[in-house]
Every structure is written in C-alpha cells, then in structure tokens.
Amino acid sequence: MAIAVAKRRKAAARRTPYLLIAPAALLMLGFIAYPMLSVLYYSLQNYNVTKPWRNGFAGLGNFTTIFTDDSLFWSSLLFSLKWVVAEVGLQFALGLVLALLVNQTFVGRGLARAMVFSPWAVSGVLTTTIWMLLYNPATGISRYLADAGIGEYGTSVLSSPDTVFPAAVLAELWRGVPFFAILILADLQSIPGELYEAASVDGANRWRRFFHITLPHLKDAIVLSTLLRAVWEFNNVDLLYTLTGGGPAGQTTTLPLYVADTGIKGHDFGYASALTTVAFVILLFCSIVYLRLSKFGGDRT
C-alpha cells in the first residue's frame, strides 16, 4: 500500500507544479510574451496610423534609420545612460549609508526607519507633484531662498537646460534611496552576529569588519538590486514624463520617453517598435555583461 501511495504521489508530483504555475504562466504569455512578439513583428513594418499608404513590410529599414539617421535616438540613449548612472550610483551610495545607520540601536529607531523609507511608498506622480511645488519659481523653495539673500527671484530650475538634469535627479533620488536602504537593511540583518564577534575578538576594527564581513555578505543583494534598479530607472517614465515632459529642448528625453513620443503622440508605431526592440537588446546585453563581470552568485555553485 505504501508503494501505491508513493506511486500516486509521484504521478501527481509530475503534474502539480505545472498546474501551480499555469495561472502565472498564462497571464505572462498573454500579456508580456505576446505583446513583446508583436512589438518585434511591428518593428519590421512601416506602421503609421496617420500615413496608412506607406504601411507594409519594411525589412530592416527602421533599424538602419535608427543607427544611421536618427540623432534623437543617440542623444536620448546618451541621456538615458547619464540618468541611470547618476541615479543608481547616488541611490546606492546613500542607501548603503542609511541602511548601516538605521541598522544600529538608538532611541527612536522605528520612527526613523519609517520616515526614511516613506518616500518609497508614495512614488510616481506624487513625487512629481511634491517636487513641482518645491521647484515652483513663485512659491517654491527658491523664493524663500531669494528672500534670505541666496539666488534670485523667479528662477525655475525645471525650465533652464543647465539645472533641469540635477533637479530631476534630486527628485528621483528622493524616492529611490529608500529602495536600496530597505533591501540592504534586510540583508544586513541576516548576517550572523558571531562573525562580528569573532572578528572583534581577533582585533579587527570597524572598517575592517565592514570590508571583510559586511560587504562580501551583501554582494549578491547589491548586484541584484543595482541591476534591477538600473533597468527600472532606464525604463522610468512616470517621473520625467510628468516633471519635465522631456524638456526643456529635449534635455531630459530618455529613450523610453522618445519611444512614447514616437509611438503614442507621433503614431509611428512601426518605428517606435524598432526603438523598443533596440532598447530591450541593449538592456539585456548590459545585464548579462554586468552579471558576468560581477560573478553573481559565483561563490555558491
């Protein structure tokens, strides 16, 4: 009887996992894989709602245009890179410091954690709303600074090409740092305390403990979170779309914003699909290189 039960279990065990992943797999096939494939398909087409007479198979035409004859593509790609590097670098550095700070014991730690993490909860358009109020030339911070003798009246950091980039970076930083702080703090708590005790018995000072215990332990979490964040920041549309709209003078047009402009406002869906495909390949390639270089999970296998 035991054998029969075991046999039945085995047969069921072969089917069960597929039944369990079926809802997720079907949803992802229908709403991620299929749209992705249709983007690929359209990238080879001329497909423009406003110019239907030109529609039809375009071959690699869209792609050759992108690489040879589209300065907006290159400038938006360059801006995307600048954006990702600045955001992920700063968010990670600040997030690490914050996590180390709130990992210690002090009075009011719970409250401090909740406050430090809170912008993460209210991301998106709300971030834009808040920072637009702060940056408003008539009633924002700059007015009060001008009252105090710093800077001049009527400056809007969002409409000047010199200041729009740091201004946008600062707003995104505000909501992005908590992400790293939360993840790193979570990982810090899983480091066994014995390691630190043994190290301090051996006479290791705080810096040595940090570089020889904390950082190596955090490595996988750091690699994964920086990668995910880089991809998310690359694809970030919410904030820039509502805060700067890509302006002034295209100074803050990232590649996804350019794609949205082309596809949704410009109705040139074939070309937008080709741009999407290029963006996806770039992201995938960079991710693989990054995972290889950082030897992600390497010491486990």
Partner: protein, 306 residues
C-alpha cells in the same frame, strides 16, 4: 585620559553583554550583535540621519503646507489652516471617485497577485520540474521588458477583449507586471520553511493542500503581507496603465487625476494640487506604516538572494 575612558566604557559594557548572552534564547543572535554596535558615539548616527531626514521630510512638509494654508499666503506655518483645498479636490475635482477606483484596483491587484504568486512560488520552491529553469528565466527576463514600451500592443489586446475603459484592464496589467517579482519573493519565503514541517503533516494524514494551509501558510504571513502591500502600493502609485486604458472621467484613478491637475498648468491653484497630493499619499502612508516592520524581515527571509 582617553585610556581611562576606554576602560570604563568597556567595563560598563562588558557585564551587560555577558548578561545578554546568558539570558538570550538560542535565536537571540540579533540582540547580541547590536550590543556590539552600541560602542559607537551617538552623534555619528544622529547627525547624518538627521540631515537625511530633513531631505526626506521637507518635501512632505511643503506639500502639507500648500494644502493647508489659504491661497496667497506665504507663511511657512500652515496656520490658520483651511480645509477649502481638500473639499475642492474631493468634491469638485472628483477625487472621491478616483479614490474609490484606485482602492478597487489596488485591492483586486493585491488579491490576484498574492494568490497567483503563492501558487507559482510554491511550485518553484517545492518541486523539480522540467520547465522550471525556463520559467525562472522568463521571470527574470520579464524584468527587462519596459512596461511603458508595450503600451500599444497591450492597448490592442485590451481593445480586443473589450476591456478598454474597464478597471479590469488596469487590474490585469498591474497584476501581470507585479507577478514575476512576487513569485520570486514568495518562493524565497517558502524555501525558508523547512520541508520537514510539511512532511510530518503528510505523515499525519494531511493532503498537500491541507498541510500547506495548516503548516506553511501561517509561517508565510509576514512575507505575504510584504508582497501584497507591494502590489497595492505599486498599483496605487503607477499611472501609465490607467492613463492609457481608462478614458472616461468616472474611471480615472488618483494618479491620473493628479497628472491632469498638474497638466492644467497655471490655471490650477497650487493649494488644490497639494491637497490632491495629500489625498493620494494618505492611504499608502498608512499601509506603509503598518508594513514597514514586516517589509524588512520579509526581505531578509532570503528573498533577494537567488
């Protein structure tokens, strides 16, 4: 002089640490580790943290200030406070309806994501099957696909399903894009529950399902709360899908309402805009205040580490 300071410091610290070690239960590691950090001077924590808190809180304060003080006031203290802006956004601009829509979408996304991710996560954590690697790969790759760039094909799909301008289109889209990460997180949580616990329930005559509900599910509570609230907060804040798929004003969500308030430019009173922001922030801040404790323990349960 410094020497005496150091000795007194260690002298007062040492006995307490021993006492902790003696009384701490076997699982009480964390307390012991923290007692090590306790040697750092306080100001090294409070000064940088205080500075960062200023950066975090001033924007929030600014929003509250605009929402509460009367139009035209330049005072930095919102006193006497007015509720005029709130009643305007809530009643005149339709935020009462947007709020209800956002709440519906958020709660539905929360339930769908949690249930489907629980099933998938269990399969990944407890079974070895042929398509497992492929499924994992698909989950990871989906993270590289920009949801924003797939708006047009998604729009076509929902148009074919006749779901445009129905809250369901947003619920489905939010769920789908929440799923990959949720599944990875939940499978991490389940892996942390020893299989032996389940097996002993099977021996007692429980089926897999009953064993799961009775033994594993209660232990997953913190993780599920983290993942569920993740889904809620995300769908509450995310605006692209609702912007694209919903067209009549009765269907708008809070972020869409906000973005139109922003978009109407100079004509809109900044106080109104700020009040809308406060309305948008309150539910997520409440959710967040409840979950932030679980969030950290939930993640450390092995989620982000492969």
């Amino acid at each position: 002089m410094t020497a005496t300071h150091a000795t007194t410091a260690t002298a007062t610290e040492r006995p307490s640490r021993h006492r902790l070690e003696d009384t701490a239960p076997p699982g009480g590691r964390k307390r012991r580790r923290r007692s090590l950090d306790a040697g750092n001077p306080r100001w090294q924590i409070y000064v940088p943290l205080g500075l960062y808190l200023l950066f975090t809180l001033i924007p929030f304060y600014w929003m509250l200030l605009f929402a509460l003080r009367p139009t035209g006031s330049t005072s930095l203290v919102p006193w006497p406070a007015t509720t005029k802006h709130f009643s305007k956004v809530w009643n005149d601009l339709g935020f009462a309806i947007f709020f209800k829509n956002s709440l519906l979408i958020g709660v539905a996304t929360l339930f769908m994501t949690t249930v489907i991710a629980l099933l998938g996560g269990y399969a990944l954590a407890r079974f070895n099957f042929r398509a497992k690697q492929l499924f994992m790969l698909a989950l990871l790759c989906s993270q590289f696909i920009p949801g924003a760039l797939m708006l047009v094909p998604l729009f076509q799909i929902f148009a074919n399903l006749r779901l445009i301008d129905s809250l369901w289109s947003v619920i489905i889209a939010e769920t789908v894009f929440q799923l990959p990460l949720s599944i990875i997180l939940i499978s991490g949580f389940i892996k942390n529950v020893p299989v032996s616990l389940e097996e002993s329930a099977w021996v007692d005559g429980c089926g897999r399902f009953r064993a799961f509900c009775a033994v594993v599910l209660p232990l997953l509570r913190p993780g599920l709360i983290a993942v569920g609230s993740f889904a809620f907060v995300h769908s509450w804040n995310h605006f692209l899908f609702s912007l694209m798929f919903l067209s009549t004003q009765e269907k708008y969500t809070i972020p869409v309402g906000l973005s139109y308030t922003i978009g109407s430019g100079e004509s809109v009173d900044l106080g109104t805009l700020a009040a809308g922001g406060v309305v948008a922030a309150v539910p997520v801040v409440i959710v967040f205040a409840f979950i932030q404790k679980w969030l950290v323990t939930g993640f450390s349960a092995g989620a982000v580490k492969g």
